[in-house]
Amino acid sequence: CKKGFFDINVSPNNPAEATPALVLPSAVAGSAFVFGGYYQAVGAYWTQQYAQSAGASQWADWESYNLTDNDFDRQFTTLYAGALYDYKYVKDKASAASSWKFYAIAGLMQAYTFQVLADLYDKIPFTEALNGTGTLQPKYDDGQAVYDGLLAMIDDALSKDLSSASVPNPGTTDVIFGGDMGKWRQFANTLKLKIYLRYVNVDANKYSTQIKALLAENNFLTSDAAFTSFKAEQTGANPFYNTFVDRLAGNVIANTTLMSWLTEHSDPRRNGIYKASETGSTWASLNSGQYLTATGTIKSFATPNIGSTYPVYFFTKEEVLFLIAEAEARYGSAANAKTAFDAGVKASFDSYSLGGSAIVYPYNGVPSIIEQKWVASTNKRSLEAFFDYNRTGYPAGIFTRPPTSIWSGNDRPKRFFFAASERKSNSNTPQRVDLNVPVWWAKQ
């Protein structure tokens, strides 16, 4: 046989290599798809912004906390084998070509993504992860060790030449900031602040110097960091809208916990956060677990106001202000904290074009900051509200016990089970830990 007769096993269907400019958007989309889809949804269920509708039961298990390790397994896989590995691919390729802007963006987004996983699972594969067949059974690192690694990853990204002289410029392939590296510096500072504030229960003073320095530098994000590249079509829409509103229609409605809060405070954001019901009482809602005894269908309830091209937020402007407020309240001045708090509330109203009718809410330190952060997070950053609750216990005394809860007391979920696919294929996966056990940084 002539040479090459058998050498036909290189796939004609797939490229063997791709540039950072083609892989970075894919990685960012992977993070956005998970964070803006299932993670947004479960965060909102567990912070009682959303509830299971009567006449359906798709997410009833989330409200009864009756989960298995199959729940969110796909999201874990999508993040590791999709986004996280793609960030690594971008970093490797960019590093080899000194494309430092790509390198930095991929590094920062990788750190951001790892942190969410570490906060959900407490322990995750990190130091030995993403090594292909090099490490087929990556070990799980403690959350604290992951955090150390994340800070190093952020510093590594910032240490590269990101000046205008550094080429290539990612331009539109940076779907978050269009290649504006100044904004990525702000993103990095904001992410660091978020990370530092996780330590308030475990070692509050560990990063106080760094926090004060960041506050002094005051170079945080002043606008949203969001993924907005959605299309109003079924294979290109916002993932929450696509699956939770459109495909599994009939399941997600307003939760009475937040709805009552908004109504009690006559907060006009209600009309932006939720969509009025189509039939019956305009702002009808249910408590978690109430779907069992209630009648009606989704059309009789208010629903989350998320459309097909609604952005997926990595940070919102108001969230950043609340982060600054909390940092000031704990490590800086109360006056600065109140200023940031008020600006945060105002920014939240602005995001619904209600700046003119913004309410000035009373400021009483961290409880008020986190309570406002919870309200403002609805539809946008609900999972962060879940972390905030576990970290601070706020908003206090407001969440109801679902009558369907599998736990007899007022226990609430504090983490995810280790993913089923990992348990089956990675012998280093830790033993199962119950959902009501706090993660390492959480309030005990």
């Binding site: 007769f5 798809f33 999709g82 269908t297």
Partner: protein, 1023 residues
Amino acid sequence: TVKDESGNVIPFATVSEKGAKNAVSADADGNFTMHVKDGATITISAAGFNSVDKSTLENLKEIVLNKEGKETIEEVVVTAVGVRRAERSLGYASTQVNAEELTATGNRSALNALQGKVPGVEITSGSGAPGASTRIIMRGFSSLGGSNQPLFVVDGVPVSNGQVGSTDLNGGLDFGNRGNDINPNDIESINILQGGSATALYGSRAASGVVLITTKNGSKSNGKASVDIASATSFETPLRLPFMQNEFGQGWYNRSTAEGGDLAENGSWGPRFDGVNRPWGFVVDNQQLVKPFSALKTNVRDFFEVGKTLNNSIAIKNGDENKSYYVSYGNILADGIMPTDADSYKRHNVALRGNTKFLKIFNASASVNYVNKSSKFVLTGQDQSVLDGLWQAPRDISFVDQKDYHNKFYNVDNYYTLYAQNPYYVLNEHGNRFEENRVFGNLSLDAKVTPWLTATFKAGNDVSGSTSKSWRAITKSARSASNDDVGRVTESSYSSSEFNTDFFLNIKPTINHDLTLDAIVGHNFNQRDARTHSSQVIGLDIPFFYSLSNSSATPSTSATLSKRRLVGVYGSANLGFKNMLFLNITGRNDWSSTLPASNRSFFYPGASLSFVFSELLQNKDVLSFGKIRMGAARTGKDADPYQIFAVLNQTALTDGYRGFNFPLAGGINGFTVSNLIGNQALQPEISTDYEIGTDLKFLKNRIGLNFTAYNKIITNLIWTSTIPSSTGFTAQTQNLGKITNKGVEIALNLVPVQTNDWNWEVFANYSRNKNKLEELVAGLDQISLGGTGSIGFVARPGYPLGLFEGTVVETDPQGRVVVNAQGLPNMKAEKEVLGSSQNKFRIGGGTTLSYKNWSMRLVGDYRNGGLMYSRTAEMMYFTGNAIQTTFNDRQPFIVPNSVQKVGNAYVENTTPIAGFDHNLNAYFNQTNNAGVGSSYVLMSKTFFKLREFSLYYSFPKEWISRSFIRSVDLGLIGTNLLLWTPTSNPFTDPEQTTFGNDMAADYGDYGAAPTTRSIGFNLKLGF
């Protein structure tokens, strides 16, 4: 030529000179050459015939032997590369099924017609949809990642058994496998080769066995043209619909009868039937329908229609020893049991074959087959599926009344339930269409260079082109969003080609009277090409218009090419001693394009022995024939193409419900590193086979017994195994383990009665296969073979392949059920193995009884053991239609022997599960992880089926002898007339599957069309 009374050639007769040690064996065509003195007497003998003495002074052009008794002709079987050999010389088991048995019931599928007839082979037809695939597993699973389907060989040339289908849970499709394309009326016989000794020469593709199909030709017509017509008409009805409760009616948690309450429900968790007239459905234009609140016992059965299948065929043939032709046309027109023709299958087959001998030593033959198929398939699974609409209906709702889906009460806006779609709407407005044109054929040239050397060249090609189109209507309900659809169109095309050549020399030197040699040396080339292209738009603009142009959305498209090459050289030598002892040695080396260059070439040898010990007996009255055979052989198998290098894919994300595809808004494209990591150390899978057996015939062949025991060991299993996603990948194609299949096969044939008028025959076969995954590579505890999120389908070392893994109720140290605050059982943190999908044993059997012109035939099939997942069962529990859900009259009950965990102590549980409450539903419905754990939706696969029944009457020759008609046979035919299952499975036919036609199919059924029973008649005419 040596022939029987009917003029058929008797191959391999023994010719010996009287009083001399001089003997030869005739060839497959009954011809022999012998050097003797003039006037010598020769004896011509063949097993099953009375031997004849002839003088060389007589005309020896045609020697006719008389049959000794029925069923005793020396079996000649087709073996590897189409070479015919006497069965006695084979060191392995081989089963041959003849035309009559394949066509008795007018089955459109020759493969389905094998059910129950062949020991060691499991044949399953996955659903009652017309044209459904047939799965064939020989001697257990021998591959994890590769195909477990046998190689199909028609007249010595491999053909495709490809399947076009999808196992998507949100709409599965099965447009059938190509192995079923062959017109059964064209088939002369099917040989089943199972062991490695039998299949070694076919190379790596035969590792799961071979189905050798020999087609009819005109060579035995003695120059008389004949025409055969067969026309079968049959009518199908569902074989098994679930048995359901008839005590409780529409409702859910007994909520209220207000709009959106119980009256909008899709299940029977409502009140007890009382027969009182009540309104039902929605109020439309201030009107509401009224009906008695009572069970409609046959509401589901009434929905189905009687299916019809026409199977017509005409064949013309003629020929003699030197030339022949055969022309046939057949068609199948089937419309299944679903209302409308949304489930239909049409097939046209044309076959053209001929051969000619020329220049004394050459024989050329050619065969061309054309198949045209068009079918429509009712989607399986969930999401706007017809069957979901049926299973999710209260026991008091009539479907047939709602046939007019334009009626204001039954239309999309006002269909009685918010949670399912009117099945008539789905059947009429959503749809698909499949069309395939396929041509396969071969050319063969033999040259008998010398009396002992034949050179053969065969080339075959099998080309098919298919298109499919599927669509969903824009569906918008004023009342419920759950069944809305923006409309979609998908157009796909597939083409595949399989090109194969063989060149081999058959060497049969005359050594001496005692010693014979039959050897083959050959070369094989095989190339397979496939191309698929698919485009889809979601979100239509113009209603009811289905074109890719009809959307403003970005179309998603994909196209893939696949090409693989295989070259093999092979040889075999069969050494015979005194027509009694035969040693067969084979060897083959393959080179495959799908493996890394360093592991591309692999060699595998084999040897087998056959000892016909009855030759040593003087008296053959009791034991007429006895043979012991044994063999050992090895087969290597390559991988699928493109498994060894890592690549990137255009990014497409999914959460299991909806996807997010690149390019992004703004025209930004994206690629993601494929989740499949490459493996440049991949090696071929090696199957090593040992078999031993015996073939015995007693009392002048009135009793036949065949026994085979085998052990098949497959190492270096190729499997795309899951690796932890934390590696950055999810899968790698690896060599990761070892499987064994140990089993026995027994076949028994009896002729209890044989007189001039009466003939009664009985056959039975028993097969048992013990399959085990012996080992996996270090670090892997188990691998996933598919399944669904709730119930896994896995393989673990030490167990058979195909284990079900699901949730199990948590118990305290004393074995009591631990319940939660709701009184519902807790599930253990870890899923556990609930059982295996594999049968323990199978028994097939049947009988033929004939009296004068009447003949009757029955075939039965019994399978024992194994589990399957049944979505039907799950839906029956979910909707409260299962009889089991009426437990305790749906009154509150405390889970028997249950405890609650308080701190670290277990205290007796006093929380009842409320009746008519969510928790009652939760107890029976596994989607809430409650109740009794996963095992309740796993059904036993034990069943008995009456596979075939036929009663034929042949018109007496004297009635028709004056006309041009040669024969008339009229038959009453039926298939799958009866199904028996254990009482624990009142839901489904255990053969049903929606998971393709390989190992994954063992998982079970996710909403396939019910299998059918068919009854009809068949008319066969000969001219």
